[in-house]
């Protein structure tokens, strides 16, 4: 087997819950050796969340088991001086330390970057608390859902005229992904200059960088983008439509007048597709409600996968809305081998989501 890209890099990982562990899971996927530290006195609480079918026991949390793949797990009590000494031994032979506690925790343990750099001058350390290591809110308590809440994203999300919405989970893995990118930039710098450094990642800032367009709209025009459901600011149609079956849906998005023509032909050119009120993108956007009703009447006669086939053959973007059970059976993901079968003690053999990219030389 070829070496993975980060072969030889060692990460000493104190991260708990989800965002930090996702960062180090990605580094582990890329070939780094990740040594995850938990303590018997204080286990990673993520083990106790998301535990189906049984809420009991430390090994049934799907979130934990997914986010801690490919890692070595050790227990170490960092409240004990002997525990700290062992930690420092690990830092001496490591390249990267990662932590996502509140900023006070590592300080209280005396395990700050400045202290650890004395032991290992080339050390890179990633700190990724919710609000960053500085500023008036640095010690505020946040979890992934809170990070999503303060990003601004919920207030532009929701049914038209309805309340703000959120996913509740997306901020953690997204901030984790940003953490892995941050480590890579610092590694690149170290490779060139020999210098390690400390990275201060505010999860709130990381997620706010996804808000480019809406922030610009306010900065330029003092305008708040409205909650517009699944609609697009100016392209139409753009939505989720009910199909044949119980709670089955399909997404349809049309990005140009050419695609609209292709769509009309694919649905059999019924009279309504020739109406003037749908003739160009602007008129379709203005008459989106009426258009949605007519499209919904068409989609309700077909199976969601059938619609995907019909429309994609015509070059129109459409997809079935899959439940997580359906996702496991999706032919595209199966073809690419995205889910990998892993056997763990206690939970047994199950398909786990893999890495979303294929490397030609270092698979």
């Amino acid at each position: 087997m070829a070496d993975l890209p980060l072969q030889g890099i060692r990460v000493v990982d104190t991260c708990i819950y989800w965002a930090g562990p996702m960062a180090t899971a990605l580094l582990a996927d890329l070939g780094a050796e990740v040594i995850k530290i938990e303590s018997i006195q204080r286990i990673d609480y993520l083990r106790l969340l998301g535990g189906w079918p049984t809420p009991d026991g430390y090994e049934w949390s799907s979130v934990f088991n997914g986010a801690n793949r490919n890692k070595f797990g050790i227990t170490l009590n960092l409240n004990d001086q002997r525990g700290k000494d062992i930690f420092k031994d690990l830092v001496r032979v490591g390249d990267i330390v990662t932590e996502n506690f509140s900023p006070r925790v590592m300080e209280n343990w005396g395990l700050t970057y400045d202290a650890l750099k004395e032991i290992n001058p080339r050390l890179i350390m990633l700190s990724m608390p919710g609000f960053g290591t500085t500023g008036p809110l640095r010690n505020y308590v946040t979890f992934g859902p809170n990070v999503e809440m303060v990003s601004g994203m919920p207030t532009i999300s929701g049914y038209p005229g309805g309340e703000p919405m959120m996913t509740g989970y997306m901020a953690d893995p997204a901030a984790g992904l940003m953490g892995a990118v941050a480590v890579m930039t610092a590694l690149q710098y170290r490779r060139r200059t020999g210098k390690g450094q400390h990275i201060d990642l505010s999860q709130m800032e990381a997620i706010t960088t996804f808000m480019g367009g809406p922030i610009m709209d306010y900065v330029m025009n003092e305008r708040f983008q409205p909650r517009r459901g699944n609609r697009h600011p100016f392209l139409a149609p753009h939505g989720v439509y009910r199909c044949k079956g119980d709670d089955e849906w399909v997404t349809i998005t049309i990005s140009s007048d050419d695609e609209w023509s292709a769509f009309c032909a694919a649905v059999g050119s019924p009279d309504w597709t020739r109406e003037a009120r749908f003739s160009d993108n602007q008129s379709r956007h203005e008459n989106h409600d009426a258009l949605d009703m007519l499209i919904g009447q068409w989609t309700s006669q077909y199976d969601r996968r059938e619609i995907m086939g019909i429309l994609q053959q015509a070059g129109v973007a459409a997809s079935p809305v899959l439940s997580y059970g359906d996702v496991l059976d999706d032919p595209q993901l199966q073809h690419r081998g995205f889910f990998q079968t892993v056997t763990r003690p206690v939970t047994g053999t199950h398909p786990y989501p893999g890495f979303p990219a294929k490397f030609s030389e270092t698979p």
Partner: protein
């Protein structure tokens, strides 16, 4: 300009819209030289996507484009002409990485497949971002952000039970694909520096976005459980107060108890029907109503700080203006003011993380073809006469 983490790395950017440009924005903002190839006369279609100041369309004033293309160099080049393709091939030996997000058949159709480019530069890293990947039955299918949400499993469980599934308002799948693009490119560059070997990376936006909720397929596999849409999934929620919205999260029993303290209703703690998380989830409508009535007439900042005083993970849910005004962002200098010759001085979301030794530096997006002379004349030894002729022929 001080040394930056990716100084010295050169990237040829053939990407458009959001995913690829966000990837190369990250690389450029951290110091890589990114040469963005744009279609002559038109450029990246994102230039005309807006938002525009006063809604006046201007290819140099599109807010999304300005944001996603900071610190890059723009050259115009017609990839449908032989001369254009030859110029790409001349640039390949001078760069470390190529980023593209065309449909899978396009690069090979142009004669720019990885095998060809690798002959020109054996250490080349090429990252291809596409909706479904370069292989498989969907590879030639079209997709937008919403298409990806549909297939990911995530859309199915968001929204109200009796209404259509609902995506978030931002194009999250495209940003996530862009970030993964950045991660894999940097990892492959690291590997190349260690071993001398370049490689091609085939990144699927669908797979990338699926990893934003990687546990629910496992939950299905462990227990056959599928979560149905139900509006708010307790124990988190967003609720209105006097001047905005408040969001709460109650991961543990002690957080529930802290909420009872905040609401000044300690008796809730002892109510048998609210004893366990499962019971509270079943009665989330009742509990939500209690919180809503307590929030009535209260201001978001005051509630935020009072809750945090108790160490309760409750936060404000700011709109975009309130995000821009957050004291925490000001104190940390998150937003950057950037000048642009056409768009003027605007506020941009800034560094996604702070590197102690090598600070992030703000820079502006390029004008269409702004760096033609620099790249074509200085790097490829064309003369100004050559440039005029190429412009006449529509090559640049």
């Amino acid at each position: 300009m001080s040394e930056r983490p990716l100084s010295g790395t050169r990237v040829l950017d053939l990407s458009n819209q959001i995913s690829g440009p966000y990837c190369t924005k990250m690389l450029a903002d951290f110091g890589a030289e990114v040469i963005k190839i744009e279609r002559p006369g038109i450029g990246d279609p994102a230039r005309m996507t807006g938002p525009f100041r006063d809604d006046n369309p201007d290819p140099e004033g599109g807010g999304l484009f300005l944001y996603l293309n900071t610190n890059k160099k723009s050259i115009t080049l017609d990839l449908e002409s032989t001369a254009g393709i030859n110029i790409v091939k001349e640039l390949i030996p001078q760069v470390d990485a190529v980023i593209e997000n065309f449909s899978p058949r396009v690069m090979s159709g142009l004669g720019l497949d990885y095998a060809t480019l690798k002959k020109l530069n054996p250490g080349l890293v090429m990252t291809s971002i596409s909706p479904f990947g370069q292989t498989g039955p969907y590879r030639d299918y079209s997709a937008t952000d919403l298409t990806i949400w549909g297939l990911s499993g995530i859309l199915y469980e968001l929204g109200e039970a009796d209404r259509e599934p609902l995506k978030m308002g931002a194009n999250v799948s495209e940003y996530v694909a862009g970030l993964y693009g950045c991660l894999v490119t940097l990892a492959a560059l690291y590997h190349r520096d260690e071993t001398g070997t370049g490689q091609h990376i085939d990144l699927s936006s669908l797979e990338a976005f699926h990893t934003m909720q990687p546990s629910m397929t496992l939950v299905f596999s462990y227990a056959g459980f599928i979560r149905k849409r139900s509006g708010i999934h307790f124990p988190w929620g967003i609720l209105p107060c006097e001047d905005g919205y408040i969001g709460f999260y109650l991961p543990t029993q002690s957080h529930w108890e802290l909420l009872c303290t905040l609401l000044e209703m300690p008796e809730l703690r002892d109510k048998p029907e609210y004893e366990t998380p499962m019971m509270r989830e079943e009665r989330r409508d009742e509990i939500t109503a209690l919180i809503v009535s307590w929030l009535r007439g209260k201001r978001m900042e005051a509630v935020f700080h009072a809750a945090q005083e108790l160490r309760l993970p409750l936060t404000i849910v700011p709109n975009v203006r309130q995000v821009l005004e957050l004291e925490q962002h000001k104190e940390r200098g998150f937003f950057a003011e950037i000048d642009h010759p056409v768009a003027g001085r605007l506020t941009y979301a800034g560094a996604p993380f702070k590197l102690a030794e090598t600070p992030w530096q703000a820079g502006r997006a390029p004008l269409l073809g702004e760096h033609n002379e620099e790249i074509y004349c200085q790097r490829l030894s064309r003369t100004n006469d050559d440039l005029s002729r190429m412009a006449e022929q529509g090559v640049i």
